[in-house]
């Protein structure tokens, strides 16, 4: 029994990657994971026509909305399955309700990092009364991509948050 428990713990540490010595140095995984922060910039051309382009986050002051994009590119020769992207809503930011997007994924949210659910199931107890959680109370977002990610293909997860 004790031997079995030790194996589970070791397995857990390996899966979590928390025991750095267990990792082979320089070993590459099959996903190249990139995260970008962008803001919308309005550009007015010589004719006065306004267009909005996304540029790297700059001049970010309270009240500005930032678009976070996580892209998972399969860099191996085999397909990847059960691709799940997790992203905590950054500290000092508030998630913009309805902004999470990821083609081919199921998106859930968490208030505590443990329980993930659709917005309709997320509740908060305030003064003894249970109410629906507000989007700015979501702390984590999870995208579970259905199907498999072919070699060379990229799965994209995106959400917007406002700087407090």
């Amino acid at each position: 029994m004790i031997k079995g428990t030790r194996n589970i713990l070791a397995a857990a540490l390996l899966v979590c990657g928390l025991a750095s010595q267990a990792q082979a140095q320089g070993e590459q995984g099959c996903i190249l994971l990139k995260s970008t922060a962008e803001v919308a910039k309005e550009v007015v051309d010589a004719k006065g026509v306004k267009t909005v382009t996304m540029v790297p986050a700059e001049k970010v002051v309270p009240g500005v909305e930032v678009t976070w994009t996580v892209s998972a590119n399969n860099v191996c020769k085999q397909p990847s399955e059960k691709v799940t992207i997790n992203n905590a809503v950054p500290v000092h930011m508030s998630y913009v309700g309805g902004s999470a997007f990821g083609a081919g994924s199921d998106i859930t949210f968490s208030l505590d990092g443990k329980t993930f659910a659709a917005p309709a199931q997320l509740t908060v107890k305030e003064n003894g009364v249970e109410r629906a959680a507000k989007p700015d109370e979501y702390k984590h977002i999870r995208w579970v991509f259905k199907g498999s990610l072919a070699p060379g293909a990229t799965a994209v997860a995106r959400f917007r948050a406002v700087l407090n």
Partner: protein, 391 residues
């Protein structure tokens, strides 16, 4: 590596428990402070050929594919400085002032809606345009000054609503105490009040208006040095971003000139000529004439001290004791209330009831004033009656 699928599932559950990290950040109400680094790192779990792989963390730029806690790095940006002032005149209405009054006050509310402390340079001026639908009249206010409330800035609910909160109870402009010309430093989410103070010329007319404007320019806190915004590419340090054009805010307010403005109607009627029968009395020598003076205050302010002087026609003589059971000389009526006074001859109001008469070079002048005449409110009127005999 995994003796059974069952053991792997329990390992994964343990992983979630060990790996979950709760971060709860409390946002500053006024905004995250400048130079704060906003960091974000995502992670991906996946399987290959049915075998779960080590989690990979994200990185900016080209990204990261090194598994485990050693791989990946934060995607970050630095919070810049937002310069954002809010200024509004308080109470959305004009301040009523009386001609000849000094140090009359209009009040402005100012709040720092940015994320860093700022100083504010202020300036005041007469405003040529319309405020509340009224333009300024030709008689301009004089000695237009500005002063910042000397009490420490307020914060919280006192700064938030309504559109321009009035000062907390008891706080008001105090000449000599509120002396600062500019705001040295106003922290984010705090607010204070600025007073425009002016003198009203005696020549100002009832029902006219004078408009003023207060302007504030955000400056570096304490030094009040000018701020330089960065309108170009983001720099590695803290950039200054102006939420208001030229970091300038302004608003306008109004003084409404109100004073008493009397309309006087003088009527006379022969009440008896001692010869004819009523109502056919004629103004013949010996006839008794009653004068009725009706004073109406068409102004916007109460008249406190009203004095009537009336020179009787040379052909008449004042008839005393005409009222109040032959004890009083003049009758004064305001609304339903009638009072009386004795107008002593000789120019001295011996009984101090407000009435007396003076005779000089053959002309008798009747004076009726306080306390015989009460103050007359705006739209109010007072009627004074006295009698003479035609000589």
């Amino acid at each position: 590596m995994f003796p059974s699928l069952e053991q792997f599932k329990r390992a994964s559950a343990a992983c979630v428990a060990l790996g979950s990290l709760m971060i709860s950040g409390q946002a500053l109400a006024g905004g995250t402070a400048p130079n704060t680094s906003i960091d974000n790192i995502a992670s991906v779990n996946y399987s290959v050929g049915g075998v779960p792989q080590t989690v990979i963390r994200s990185a900016p730029g080209v990204g990261n594919s090194t598994p485990g806690a050693g791989g990946g790095s934060n995607t970050s940006f630095v919070v810049d400085q937002k310069v954002d002032l809010y200024m509004r005149e308080v109470n959305s209405a004009a301040t009523s002032v009386i001609p000849g009054s000094t140090d009359q006050v209009t009040t402005f509310f100012i709040r720092n809606d940015g994320n860093a402390a700022q100083g504010v340079n202020l300036s005041q001026a007469l405003y040529a345009g319309a405020v509340f639908g009224n333009s300024s009249s030709a008689v301009l206010l004089t000695n237009v000054r500005r002063f910042v409330e000397s009490t420490a800035a307020s914060t919280g609910a006192a700064c938030q609503s309504p559109t321009a909160p009035a000062q907390p109870g008891g706080m008001a402009f105090t000449l000599g105490t509120d002396t600062a010309q500019n705001i040295s430093t106003l922290a984010p989410d705090t607010c204070t009040w600025v007073y425009v103070v002016a003198d009203v010329p005696v020549a100002s007319l009832n029902g006219t208006y004078q408009n003023v404007e207060l302007t504030g320019v955000a400056r570096e806190a304490v030094t009040l040095n000018a701020l330089t915004p960065n309108n170009g590419a983001d720099t590695a340090g803290v950039d200054i971003v102006f939420a208001d054009p030229s970091a300038t805010v302004s608003d306008r307010d109004q003084y409404a000139i109100v004073t008493a403005a009397f309309n006087v109607i003088k009527a006379s009627s022969v009440i008896d000529d001692f010869v004819s029968t009523a109502p056919n009395f004629k103004p013949i020598p010996g006839a008794r004439v009653e004068y009725v003076l009706t004073l109406t205050n068409n102004g916007g302010a109460t008249a406190d001290t009203v004095a009537i002087t009336d020179a009787l026609p040379i052909q008449t003589a004042f008839f005393p004791a005409a009222y109040n059971g032959a004890t009083s000389d003049v009758s004064i009526t305001v609304g339903a209330t009638t009072t009386f006074c004795v107008a002593e001859a000789g120019g001295v109001d011996s009984n101090a009831d407000g009435c007396f008469r003076t005779t000089a070079a053959g002309v008798t002048t009747l004076t009726v004033r306080n306390p015989a005449i009460p103050s007359v409110a705006a739209a109010g009127s007072v009627t004074v009656r006295f009698r003479v005999t035609i000589q």
